[in-house]
């Protein structure tokens, strides 16, 4: 550790040796996003080492999955990334459908895109608002929640639940949309679009916000790839990877015909960056600011996708089709599928022995890999940077501990 301190250019007083102090940040701490426990080794305000401890929210979801049928396990996926439960449902459903080589109806496909992208907006809103909270500003958090509530209202209308939906299910969706839903959804998008500029004013371009995030927690491109980071964390480091475009056929087929640009900086430019505030001076690709900005861009991108899916969904004739029965025998074999969830690439693995229950269920969490870079990013930073870095990774403990 001594080397780490001496290598850090920000630490000037080499000749002053002070005592180190071990501090527990969490599991009960306002800014660790749930029950994450970080053990900080601090020297005054400087953090020389951060060690994340996980497992406080472990609920044996994977083991439980071996005793339930495939569809019965859907509610357990809700409780993984509880901020984007729709995307979790989708990931598991697609994994099972991959095993069965099942294809949902065209209408259900577009509805899934619509719901999944709305879920992404909701998740990024929480990530964005909570990040403001981590940096000490409370109001953007409530502004974000105000808009998220409207998305939850839409979800509630569609499936009856506001947090744990179990809406997208194996073989389609549990129900079709109620009448008038699409108009309400479009009204929400119209109302939400100008508000994004407010978020940019309050956070993205705010001088103090930029000071707190620019150049802090720089995750290099190579390190991001080595640690298996994914989602906005990976794209924030400049890696052009989005499973909606680069994923497996069964997943990319869902987005077939949809036009979107991956939110990543290429040649110093973000897609359509003339529409957004300029990247402030002092930021480095891969720092907290870029991770945050990628999320903001993805909100706009998802809104665009939602609009496209509304058009395609309403153009489809017929019904969304019936989902599979609660207990249906699966072909023997195994399947693994990763989908692009708001937090990153969430993978589901299942082994089937031909019965109605999976023989083995396994989930690969994106937040877990994203959290793993914390010790690297926080080495030698200040205490105030720890929430800034952890918040920019946008982790959800329910997904890490499962």
């Amino acid at each position: 550790m001594a080397n780490a301190i001496e290598d850090d250019p920000r630490i000037i007083e080499f000749d002053v040796r002070t005592d180190e102090m071990l501090v527990n940040m969490g599991p009960q701490h306002p800014s660790t996003h749930g029950v994450l426990r970080l053990v900080l080794r601090t020297d005054g305000e400087i953090v020389s080492e951060v060690e994340p401890h996980i497992g406080y929210l472990h609920r044996c979801a994977e083991k439980i999955g071996e005793n339930l049928t495939h569809r019965q396990w859907i509610p357990y996926t809700d409780r993984m990334d509880y901020l984007a439960a729709m995307n979790m449902n989708l990931g598991w459903s697609l994994a099972v459908e991959k095993l069965m080589k099942y294809e949902v109806s065209e209408k259900a496909r577009h509805l899934r895109v619509l719901i999944a992208e709305l879920g992404r907006i909701a998740s990024h809103l929480v990530g964005m608002g909570a990040y403001g909270l981590d940096l000490g500003t409370f109001s953007p958090f409530l502004y974000a929640f105000r808009e998220r509530e409207k998305i939850l209202d839409l979800f509630e209308e569609a499936c009856g639940a506001r947090l744990t939906y179990s809406y997208i299910t194996i073989g389609g969706l549990t129900a079709d949309l109620p009448p008038g839903w699409l108009q309400r959804c479009e009204a929400f998008l119209d109302q939400f679009e100008p508000i994004i500029q407010e978020y940019h004013t309050l956070l993205t371009t705010n001088a103090i916000f930029v000071k707190r995030t620019a150049g802090v927690g720089v995750l290099s491109r190579d390190m991001a790839i080595e640690y298996g980071c994914s989602g906005p964390v990976l794209r924030g480091s400049g890696v052009d990877q989005d499973l909606r475009r680069d994923g497996e056929a069964i997943y990319t087929a869902m987005y077939d015909g949809y036009a979107f640009e991956v939110a990543v900086q290429k040649d110093g430019h973000y897609p359509r960056d003339h529409e957004y505030p300029a990247v402030p001076a002092g930021t480095v690709l891969g720092d907290c600011w870029h991770r945050f900005f990628v999320r903001m861009l993805e909100v706009v991108q998802s809104m665009d996708l939602v609009r496209q899916s509304i058009d395609r969904y309403s153009a489809c004739k017929g019904t969304i089709g019936e989902p599979l029965k609660l207990a249906e025998k699966m072909p023997a074999g195994d399947a693994y599928l990763e989908t692009e969830c708001p937090k990153g690439q969430m993978g589901f693995y299942l082994v089937s022995d031909g019965s109605a229950k999976p023989w083995r269920v396994r989930a690969r969490s994106s937040s877990f890999s994203n959290l793993a870079v914390t010790p690297e990013l926080c080495r030698g930073c200040l205490i105030a940077d720890v929430p800034a870095v952890v918040g920019s990774l946008d982790i959800v403990m329910g997904e890490i501990d499962r």
């Binding site: 102090m21 501090v23 701490h29 306002p30 800014s31 005054g44 305000e45 403001g132 909270l133 981590d134 940096l135 000490g136 500003t137 409370f138 109001s139 409530l142 502004y143 105000r146 309050l202 956070l203 705010n206 103090i208 916000f209 000071k211 707190r212 200040l382 205490i383 105030a384 940077d385 720890v386 929430p387």
Partner: protein, 402 residues
Amino acid sequence: MVDFLTSTIGLSGWLAWTLAATVSAVLILNVIAGGALVFIWAERKVSARIQDRLGPTRTGGRFGWLQSLADGIKLLAKEDLMPEGADGMLFRLAPYVSFCASFCAFIALPFAFDVVGQRLNVAVFFVVAVLGLEVFGVILAGYASASKWSLFGAMREAAQVVSYEVPLGMCVVVPVMLAGSMDMVTIAEKQAGWFWNWYVFHDPFTFVIFWVYVTCAVASVNRAPFDLAEAESELVAGFHTEYSGLRWSYFFMAEYGSMFLVSAMAAVLFLGGWNGPIPVATLLGFSEGTGDTAPYLIRLLGLANLVGKASLGVIIMMWIRWTLPRLRIDQVMTTCLKYCTPIAAVMFAGAMLWQIGLPGGLIPGAGRPGGEIREGWLEGPGGRAAAPPAADESRDVARVAP
């Protein structure tokens, strides 16, 4: 009041002084306690409106104006908790040290002409010095709590407040220099008349230094974006992490008391004190001499002016708090040492040179005559300005009051 007690009622000197002191102390205490209740309620309403909420709406009928009182009763009834490893005596002492510092500083604060706890010839110095003592309570609280987070908060506060005392001191010296007195009553008197007589508009240097004062004042009372000592997302609750119930509320009262105090200081030193922007009383023909009620009316008007200005300052602090993210400790120190201190020093020198070159201000005759200012200046501390005003002199001054 002492004169009244000795001459009219015929009390002996020491008894009259004690009685007068008690009455003043109780009055000020109630002003702080009552003010804190009002400001806590106001903070809730202001923050709620900023965040698209309603805030308290029910307690006490409309607008929830009794909410703070209800909270006070709740805090009174709370269990008295103290951490096991805490240093009992210091832990109990700390809130009162903080509160007393805030309270004592009010003694020298003039609310209107002659409406002052104790007129001091070194009032400015006294207020700054006593307000600086507030940090001792915070350090004690952090040290005695036996909590690492509290200790971090206390150390931050110590570093921050001690640093910001330097530019704050330079800022308050400028009006002192212009008025030629440290007596706050005299300083306010010198700004009587129209608002262009206020020291903030005296010359460009005082205008700049007013904003430096605002920055330093916000930092010295630990309000956002400088609220590092109780940074929620980093240090749980900072120095008062382990406090609950009434002791915690004392810290709060001290905080709101200090907020009001630095705002009132700004009003007295830069914004004309109890003199309104328009000399209403003079225009209406009120003066000390006209009738029995006129002096009271003038004082009442002055009181409203000063409390209004100070409250405006407090509300602006709230507005800032609910809008901006928090700075990091190194940035707070940079702001102080690299920006506030040099700017304050240069502005101090500039204001001094201005006094020599253009003593009357830019527009001759618009401000106070230069000769008079320099006269008071040359007399130095303890000179005419510091002496208690003679009866006819006070009358002369009050004529140009609000």
